[in-house]
Symmetry: none
Subunit: 182 residues, 2 copies
Amino acid sequence: EGEGEFSFQSSKWTPEEEAALKAGVLKHGTGKWRTILSDPHFSSVLKSRSNVDLKDKWRNISVTALWGSRKKAKLALKRALPPPPPKHDDDNNTRALTSPRTHASKKSITSLDKIILEAITNLKEPRGSDRTSIFIYVEENFKTPPNMKRHVAVRLKHLSSNGPLVKIKHKYRFSTNFTSAG
Amino acid sequence: EGEGEFSFQSSKWTPEEEAALKAGVLKHGTGKWRTILSDPHFSSVLKSRSNVDLKDKWRNISVTALWGSRKKAKLALKRALPPPPPKHDDDNNTRALTSPRTHASKKSITSLDKIILEAITNLKEPRGSDRTSIFIYVEENFKTPPNMKRHVAVRLKHLSSNGPLVKIKHKYRFSTNFTSAG
DNA sequence: CGGTAGGGATAGGGTTCT
DNA sequence: TAGAACCCTATCCCTACC
């Protein structure tokens, strides 16, 4: 077909299909797309989908689930960092789906408190940064032990109770942000 | 708090770049953004643009130059269909009945006059809908033959001269809108 | 080319900036 | 309000690999 003029077949996933996919992954595991499709329990709902469709959709679901809290932090990071080099052709959307740059350049943690201050400074959020943004910043920029969040939370509490940080309570939000006192 | 922020170089498209884009579309067709970028004939001029940039720019060009009122029609459509259906699908063929936006669900044309009236009704434009809005509505919601516009124009003329439609002439515009008489 | 993984491309809705 | 540039997400495509 040489034309293809106005023919799309963009078929959005229905909630039913998505539920079937999730159930299928629960039952058969990820990476078993053809198996899920062949399962008579899901095949009726998913009959218009291919195994590749399932794989792609599962990827999307996973990515967006991961991002719930990351998105805000990433946006803040983006704001805080100077504009990237003169926009080359790999500067399109696809990078968002891959791992954030290279983790090879992460520094080792030396002083957690200094790192926290660095995060808040670099995030440059006008109304301070909340815990999650700080977590993400640290995670993205340093080699972190598995219990980093707890350590950071402890230090945040300490730094704000008798240190250089100030807690900001918002009228319209439930989260508490942190900012420098000085 | 006025911090000297980071100005993003809003790289405006130069006439050369725009010409290269148009030539590229002529040569490779729309939707071949990466191909256009890879074409040595255009890559030098467009080297600071991404495939997504090309797509976006082409959309801007098309909206303003070719289809001035396509946007208006789309906005009207959006206005007209605000409450996405209460999610109420039959078991027969969910995909065909949901999401009027998917082109896969276009109905076959049976009665053009009825379709025209449906368009005007659903577009819900307070001052009636002009030809182009109606064209777009039909194009978006039905499988159309290539000469749909001419057919619709003929029926519009007929329906307004001795039918249920009323032509509205505007003081400040040159276009003529149509609305139901009843 | 049967199936999967992952990079990549595209369309279209949104957002930001002016 | 509008237009241009740009961002975000969902979907689909391509290729390497086994």
